[in-house]
Symmetry: C2
Subunit: 464 residues, 2 copies
Amino acid sequence: MKKELGPFFEPESVAIIGASATPHKPGNEVIKNILANGYEGKLHLVNPKGGEIFGLPVHASISSLPVGIDLAVIILPAKDTPGALRECAKKGIKHVVLSAGGFAEVDESGLRIQHEIVDIIQQTGVSVLGPNTSGHTSTPHRFTSTFFPLGRIRPGKVSYVAQTGNFATHSMKHILTAEHFGVSRVIGLGNKIDIDETDALEYLADDPQTSAIVMYLESIKRPGRFLEVAREVTAHKPVVVLKSGATEAGRHAAVAHTAAMGAEDRLVDGLLRQAGIVRIRNYSHLILAGKALSMAPLPRGARVSFLAPSGAMLVSLADLCVRLGLEVPELTPGALERIQEFSPPFIRMRNPVDIWASASVHGVEFAYREGMEAVLKDPDIDAVIAVLMLTEDTGIPPFDFIVDLAGKYPEKPVLITFSGDKHYEEECKAFIEPLGVPSFPEIEQPFEALSILSRCAQAMKRPR
Amino acid sequence: MKKELGPFFEPESVAIIGASATPHKPGNEVIKNILANGYEGKLHLVNPKGGEIFGLPVHASISSLPVGIDLAVIILPAKDTPGALRECAKKGIKHVVLSAGGFAEVDESGLRIQHEIVDIIQQTGVSVLGPNTSGHTSTPHRFTSTFFPLGRIRPGKVSYVAQTGNFATHSMKHILTAEHFGVSRVIGLGNKIDIDETDALEYLADDPQTSAIVMYLESIKRPGRFLEVAREVTAHKPVVVLKSGATEAGRHAAVAHTAAMGAEDRLVDGLLRQAGIVRIRNYSHLILAGKALSMAPLPRGARVSFLAPSGAMLVSLADLCVRLGLEVPELTPGALERIQEFSPPFIRMRNPVDIWASASVHGVEFAYREGMEAVLKDPDIDAVIAVLMLTEDTGIPPFDFIVDLAGKYPEKPVLITFSGDKHYEEECKAFIEPLGVPSFPEIEQPFEALSILSRCAQAMKRPR
């Protein structure tokens, strides 16, 4: 049965149980985050001490709260959590985030408390996110329940589901400080005693604010239902999953984490493939995938043309394409002719495109612009990657031509990486990314990103 | 027979044939580079126009040069190169760099000129680097023949051999602007009509200024001899090779590049393994390997302990270790006890080390310092990687404790990566790297680097 998760993401009123006046305490940071994101609903604070926090009145007890509150965020020690949850249920609050840790992931006594919470859920029918979660975020509704100091979270169209509180904390901080894309919903599942990855996926499936879903999972609680739901979703939205605990060493580390033992990895592999989910292996690809899905269209196929200023790069990146399942096809005669036209006659042009000579003769801007446009026009090419040469030697071009080209061919991913002077690479990134063109510091990354995009596109087209 | 390459790397006098007074021309840039690097030998310039360049007198012809010059750098159009080479030989110059392109990599007429040069080499016995090379570099001798504007090249202890001129140009610019390690010798082989990768390897084998060798190759000209030489070298110096053209697509791109067709890849794989060479696959790992070999010791084995502030990272990085051939062993009781001592009692500590809780309780500096030292002390651990959490939330520690620890355990690689705020990550890198501790922006990179180091160490120990 599909859970009604709407109030988690669009609450009209929220209660913070365990609100704190002490700076840096989770019960204080969560309020700061909510205010920083400009939450427009009603915010109720609860702390036995009463008083005011950030100018907001504090209720001394849950029982003194008004009725009709959509969502409660409980930030209390584990032992005080069941009582508070019961009181929330009594007050008619049907959706609760349990932020604190100290449950089954810790010890026997934590496990007993967790069992108690499961009983309360069954008795009262409340929906619970957590425990042991660092919260969730909903930028379209300007709301977050995370207690990690993030400040304003940049809105975007990709949603994240993570079976680890830390994704919503320092990894999110990394996205906010190192990247230019934003997020729509972020769901930290925690110990998932109630809401699990399948519920989250089912909600995001119909969420008009979510165009793609990226998940970090250590276990899949209800594989059968997960498969059913995922098969539906992946027909119209890309779903990318990092399922870790794939190896003995990984599983070993997982035990200490969210009290979940990873299932046999090959079974998982088959399940994800049947579900039309694109599996990734690297933690950093959670960010890479989110960036690619945020900033580039899905390509029609896996046929890439790329331009590089070095034969060595052309050769080793062509090898990489094969390893990543990307094709580097011959160009159509029209594209080939155009590229040959502005290249020194002694260089036999082909795909991938050796752009060094024409950049030396005609300048970086002209060579890359004409070269990129020629292959973007080619009907046999689905995506274009440019290894942009940025050194004072050949001159630093204005970067708007890249943004123009990406805008002119909106159906084809245009991904940028660099060779040359780090300083200008960063300048270029700072210019093109806020205008929607993704760039990547490591030369292999746009290929890895395109491989993810192309696998997503293939998964959407497969028969169901 | 071993070629005498010393004069390429320690020339007491050099002639630049095709010296130019025109800024930005290769014949001008090469002089600027030589001066910027503080070359202390005698520099002779040749140009029919005579006059002065950068205050140095210009000879109108090669014949008017003094005798006894060690090395000539010919930067002339292809068609003028054979004549100049012949004149250099007549003048008794035995070592020549042919910088220009326009030979076999271009067309039939270029191929004919290249054949002519081969004849001259056979008739005169000159040693030739190139043609179609962007030059070579020797930082211990403060000399370079590259015409790409690099300015001062940072000295280091790793040497590069590249069958592509571009490595010595914009990729080198990238190293100089993005990294803190330097290079010893850099050899751009070009079309290798005379000096090839085997000669280069043989020279670097006995070079006291070279502690490790990183090569980019598209073909191996004399596989038998290469194997013989490499087996010797790899017994005492690490050799890392990116051999590209491994796939059909890659070979396709290679044809247009240095006129070399890659050999059947599986044969190459076997050859490199027999030679004790560590094979890498990514272009960016040419830099990663150089950095690791420059800044970290070779580990005794493949047993790593790592610390991360997130269970998700611990699990997915443990998986990564398995894929990379690294072991994540149990800690010895002493190390375990020490880590448990300063961690909240409810967290069962193990390897990999979940440092989040103790960093929250004791602060980032204390937790990482104590945690890193505990595992560095463990005799069953060969290397330590720390995923350093840098956010204002938990505070930004002073970074000198990392440098101190790396200095205290010089036999164990200490590699750093980050989670959190990009700004502080860059601050940390800027602090620790000039003091000799390598850091990596992507979380998987220190593991990839350690895998290369550990494979190098294993290769040195294998029976020959």
